[in-house]
């Protein structure tokens, strides 16, 4: 068992088999630096719970393929990424910090899928980005590839 500590001082016990999916922690264990609690100053407990949930579910990745639980895992992944933008970005940041490749992949793809067909306005609103381009600059970009800005699939909603 490995103990992880979030930035709000909560400790979590995770099976070693699960936690070594994180390259960072795997390296720490191999280097013998993981004898006591591993502090994770970048991750809050809410996010860490999510990550541990993912790690525990994916602990038997190899086995799942053999036992036909792949669909089950897929369903879990779909459910897992069903969260708000802020939460999703927190998980991405955690996955990046802990270097969990599969989780990073899953969340980034989910983010990309959500953005894919959105209009510029919708993206700005969803991600709360302030537009710092001038109107001329914006028009120039549109003129470069007007076809990218028109089409029935472009979605202006923000959900």
């Amino acid at each position: 068992m490995v103990k992880l500590k979030s930035n709000d001082d909560k400790e979590f016990e995770v099976e070693e088999a699960a936690v070594i999916q994180s390259e960072m922690i795997k390296n720490m264990i191999e280097d013998g630096c993981a004898t006591s609690v591993i502090p994770l100053p970048n991750i809050d407990s809410k996010t860490l719970i999510k990550v541990i949930e993912y790690l525990n579910k994916h602990i038997n990745m190899g086995k799942a393929a053999e036992t036909g639980e792949e669909d089950d895992l897929k369903e879990f992944d779909e459910q897992f990424v069903n969260m708000g933008w802020e939460e999703l970005f927190d998980v991405i940041m955690a996955a990046n910090y802990l270097n969990i490749h599969e989780l990073m992949e899953l969340c980034c793809q989910s983010a990309a899928d959500r953005l894919k067909n959105k209009s510029v306005r919708a993206v700005r609103e969803m991600l709360k980005i302030t537009n710092d381009l001038t109107e001329e600059e914006e028009q120039e970009i549109i003129n470069d590839a007007p076809w990218a800005f028109e089409g029935p699939e472009i979605d202006d909603t923000v959900n």
């Binding site: 270097n99 793809q109 991600l127 980005i129 537009n131 381009l133 970009i141 470069d144």
Partner: protein, 590 residues
């Protein structure tokens, strides 16, 4: 992710997503953006300055490019020709490689009128195209085009390949010229200059044991096809072996990937190599082009000038199989390369039906129409006789196997028929002449004798006729003002008083010959061969030997030729194999 070493300049812009407490390093924004399709990316440049900078960064482009392509993103580019539609007769489509349902029409690469697009090669989503004579690169996804430095080329003899050289980290274009002197040139897109490369690949021919130079499709019988660049090498099919050039200019790097087995498939071109080592080949179906007759279709119908033909027949010398004019004999037979494209057809109706054939037409229907067309063509036009255009059994036998038929030299064969028709008309008391006389009128008289030449209307602004038969210019409309026609004695006077300036010895200039499509050259070795001229000289010799007026000098020469002839008879079977059944000699004998 963090294991990746990211060598790149860092943006000066403070990189924060505003106001929410969501702080995403650019690295992660990039990670998300790299999973988006191009269309979304171009749109999202508008989101903010940071996003615009990220998406426009060359490093980002490279990262996108080197992501492993999944089979869904691979597309097949299709070029299709239509009737007259603006701005070009050509339309482009992209199709998924896995299914045939997902076909989308693309915007044309250029907005102005283009007579003919030719796809040479594609790599990395870029397409190397020619619009008439201008080479350019096209990215169908971003709809961007870049014109390339000018280089002289000819679609029939030149092939271009587009590839990426890891060593210099840039795109390069390989140009192969198969005409006259084989040459290879490379255009480095970074420098923008063409450079000739000298070392050619060679391999030992398995049959003869000789070392031979390797070029894509080293045969005139198959049109030049695009070089395909995959797995870091150029690929092509030559002599039914798939070759790959592993490395530019390194001789040892040419390897045979596999030998292909075809069943009656004359032309197959590699189009794509799947990661699982399957090959996508393109094999065009049977079409009039494969029989070397599209020229007939294109020239269509030109009305006969009976008087002109009569006057010419009068000047036909059966001894030499040539027309006799005051300025000399008809030029030798090497002007015959036009034979395949000069021929004319009245077959508009049938041709229209041929046009209706598309990819969905059942094979049996295609065959039926092509055969019907060929029947008309051979029986009614090319090999007509004076007995109600019944078709000779010889030709019917030839038509049993259309593939075999397309390999015969019909142009050469027709020339024998043509000379024999003129022979009969000029020697016997016959008042009729049969055969395909447009050849006499257009190929011979109009093209060569200036006082008999009508003036074709000039080409319209948007017309393009480079690959059309030479005689087609008279289909545009004719101004009959300056030439002699329709009145026998005037035409005879013209022929009698012909001066050397009024005669065009070589209507097919080198320039025009270079423009001719490949099928015009099929059989060229045959009609260019000495064997055929020799037939004529041999016949002349026989006549001289029988002629009591021959001088002793002439007699000596003739008997030498005749003796030579006895030894060279063995050339005949060779010619017969090219010309089909053994009827060749009968035609010569007339």
């Amino acid at each position: 992710m963090s294991a990746k070493v990211l060598k790149r300049k860092h943006f000066q812009i403070e990189n924060r997503m505003e106001a929410t407490g969501i702080h995403l390093p650019e690295q992660i924004v990039e990670e998300i953006l790299s999973r988006l399709p191009l269309r979304s990316l171009l749109r999202f440049k508008c989101v903010s300055k940071i996003w615009e900078a990220l998406i426009s960064d060359p490093y980002f482009h490279k990262m996108m490019m080197h992501q492993s392509p999944d089979s869904n993103s691979q597309k097949l580019l299709i070029r299709k020709m239509f009737g007259d539609t603006a701005p070009s007769r050509f339309k482009f489509y992209s199709s998924s490689l896995s299914t045939f349902e997902d076909v989308q029409q693309l915007d044309p690469p250029l907005t102005h009128y283009v007579g003919r697009y030719h796809i040479f090669s594609s790599f990395d989503g870029l397409v190397l195209l020619a619009a008439d004579t201008q080479l350019f690169l096209w990215n169908p996804l971003t709809r961007e085009t870049v014109l390339l430095p000018y280089t002289e080329y000819n679609i029939i003899y030149t092939s271009f390949g587009l590839g990426y050289d890891d060593a210099t980290d840039g795109y390069k274009i390989l140009k192969l010229n198969m005409r006259l002197k084989h040459s290879m040139e490379i255009l480095n897109l970074k420098t923008g200059f063409w450079r000739e490369i000298c070392n050619h690949p060679t391999a030992v021919c398995p049959r003869t044991g000789y070392e031979m130079e390797l070029f894509p499709l080293p045969s005139k019988h198959i049109p030049m096809e695009p070089l395909v660049y995959v797995h870091g090498a150029f690929h092509w099919i030559g002599d039914l072996m798939l070759w790959a050039m592993k490395d530019y200019g390194v001789e040892e790097s040419w390897i045979v990937l596999c030998t292909l087995q075809f069943n009656g498939l004359a032309i197959a071109q590699p189009r794509y190599r799947f990661p699982d080592r399957e090959l996508l080949l393109y094999a065009p179906g049977e079409s009039p082009h494969q029989f070397g007759i599209p020229g007939i279709v294109e020239v269509e119908n030109i009305s006969y000038d009976v008087e002109l033909i009569s006057a010419l027949v009068k000047r036909w010398r059966p001894e030499t199989h040539t027309f006799y004019l005051r300025i000399g004999w008809e030029p030798p037979l090497d002007c015959f390369c036009g034979i395949r494209i000069i021929l004319v057809s009245k077959l508009a109706a049938y041709v229209k039906e041929l046009d209706d054939i598309n990819d969905d037409t059942p094979e049996i229907e295609v065959q039926r129409r092509v055969r019907l067309y060929l029947l008309w063509l051979c029986g009614g036009t090319l090999f007509s006789d004076k007995f109600n255009s019944k078709i000779s059994l010889d030709y019917l036998i030839e038509m049993q196997d259309l593939n075999a038929m397309s390999t015969k030299a019909w142009g050469t064969r027709y020339m024998f028929k043509y000379t024999s028709c003129l022979y009969r008309a000029s020697t016997s008391s016959s008042n009729d002449i049969c055969g395909f006389l447009v050849l006499v009128q257009v190929l011979w008289a109009w093209k060569r004798i200036i006082p008999l030449q009508p003036v074709p209307h000039p080409l319209g602004a948007n017309h393009y006729e480079a690959l059309a038969p030479l005689a087609r210019k008279w289909r545009r409309g004719i101004a009959h003002e300056n030439e002699a026609r329709n009145i026998l004695f005037i035409i005879r006077d013209v022929l009698n008083d012909l001066t050397i300036e009024q005669f065009i010895w070589e209507p097919y200039s080198e320039e025009i010959r270079n423009e001719l499509p490949v099928w015009c050259y099929r059989g060229e070795p045959i009609w260019m061969a000495r064997a055929m001229r020799y037939e004529i000289i041999y016949r002349m010799a026989q006549l001289i030997l029988r002629d009591p007026r021959a001088t002793s000098e002439m007699y000596e020469f003739a008997s030498e030729v005749a003796r030579e002839g006895g030894r060279r008879r063995s050339t005949r079977p060779l010619m017969s194999t090219y010309c089909g059944t053994g009827s060749l000699h009968d035609h010569v004998e007339g």
